[in-house]
Symmetry: C2
Subunit: 282 residues, 2 copies
């Protein structure tokens, strides 16, 4: 595995490989790898000639009061994990390398952003889209792998790839969970012990909502109320949102049908956690 | 030469060619080709294995009161010219093909737009950047050729390529002029006979300004006044702007030094014409 910190070197390498007909699987991350990331890498490894993993904590997608400074980082551990998963190139640029001067051009996401995380994180998805547009140019992926935990991100990336004609196949990968159901997240490490115990309620409430739906409930409000009640009674977490929307359009629906997402975000002491189920009724 | 109207077919073709190590020269145009365009094609032909010409009148870069509807079009003539210049692929998509639905993502140009044409054409360069980002994905150029007549566009594209890391070499090509000095433009065909005669003053005034500069003048205001006076006295054109700025940064300068542009735009009866000199004093 080669670690490449320079944009020009990374780009020259993949352009050279692509000129030889090689396919490139790309896993963009902010590092502090967990089993969720590893499942993306494994899938990329299976489906492509070469695998590029990027680790870059992108300041553009953090708001002024968000956790850019405290976002967990451990490069040596990440490097060892990447190597053991058979990554070919680990792209690890500095902020200065990615943004040498204030950008003269940025991307603005016009749709799918005024709901879920986008509502409380203005500009977040503009930052995601801008860094991904750059990374897609630098890494030239044939396929790009994203976790369904960030379901709104997957929806935004789907729009980005389609509307700007990136020749990239988007591959969404299922959420990986702890034994007790908590979705794997780099941020979990910042949970206080008591919060960690309570955090299981996120997944539990989604399961309960699915159960009620399987029994025939078709009213979105009923499911949302049920989840809200469970989280409030079984944790001290402060609910940011619980929403039920069509997927990937992320528009409100009045009755459960077609493909939709139930998604939630809850603040604990040091960490805001998200989780979701993407479901389909036909 | 193959004419390709479909995005997917164009992209598949160039990706296939690039996987065989071929270089691609790209000339993006709005059609109604003149000798200026042909000089871009000739240069692309010399420097690349394959040449892609695109013809697309991009609605996104026209304002509501601009000439999208009357912009001159003559596809059969353009096709014959492209063929005779040795173009390999003529990409000729419909508006529906390029923008099948309202875009969920657009590009916003943050710099170099509040001067020259950008000042009187709000959103114009956002539309240019958005369509070029798409075209760069669809055509996958090794090199892209742009005329220096649209000098602000060249400056914006330079920022776009650098800041979003497009692996594309920007090749600016000199202005081609009529025998009397008028810069070639697709819009010249819409000039009334009397306006056509008077329009020669644009180039003449730039030459006069350069002469005065060569004789030692270093004050931008003096040159601007001189140009303004010539245009006003020798034509009935209405001046949109006459500006003198650093290039490609497009920032005001107080004294002529380094690389700079003298650019102007003048409204005639049916047409707004632009012209410029890019000069350097060291």
């Amino acid at each position: 595995m080669r670690v490449i910190p320079a944009v020009k070197e990374m780009q020259a390498e993949v352009l050279n490989q692509k000129a030889q007909g090689k396919s490139i699987g790309f896993v963009p991350t902010m590092g502090f790898l967990h089993e969720g990331h590893l499942s993306l890498i494994k899938k990329a490894r299976e489906e492509n000639d070469l695998v590029v993993l990027s680790i870059f904590v992108n300041p553009l997608q953090f708001g002024p009061n968000e956790d850019f400074a405290t976002y967990p980082r451990d490069f040596e551990r990440d490097r060892a994990l990447a190597e053991s998963e058979g990554v070919d190139f680990l792209f690890y640029p500095s902020v200065e390398e990615m943004y040498p001067n204030p950008s003269s051009v940025t991307l603005v996401v016009q749709k799918r952003t005024d709901v879920l995380c986008g509502k409380s994180r203005p500009g977040h998805f503009d930052g995601v889209a801008t860094v991904l547009a750059k990374l897609f140019q630098i890494v030239q992926p044939t396929r790009a792998y994203f976790g369904k935990k960030d379901a709104q991100q997957v929806a935004v990336v789907e729009g980005l790839i389609t509307d700007l004609n990136f020749p990239v196949e988007l591959v969404p990968v299922d959420i990986v969970r702890e034994a007790d159901g908590l979705a794997k997240s780099s941020r979990n490490v910042n949970l206080l012990p008591e919060d960690r115990k309570q955090a299981v309620v996120l997944h539990k409430s989604l399961q309960q909502a699915k159960k009620v739906m399987d029994e025939g409930e078709r009213n979105p409000s009923t499911l949302i109320s049920l989840i809200k009640e469970m989280i409030t009674s079984e944790s001290s977490g402060r609910i940011d949102y619980i929403e039920l929307l069509s997927y990937p359009q992320l528009l409100p629906i009045e009755r459960l049908e077609g493909k939709f997402i139930i998604a939630l975000a809850v603040h604990f002491t040091n960490v805001r956690l998200i989780d979701n189920f993407i479901l389909e009724i036909n």
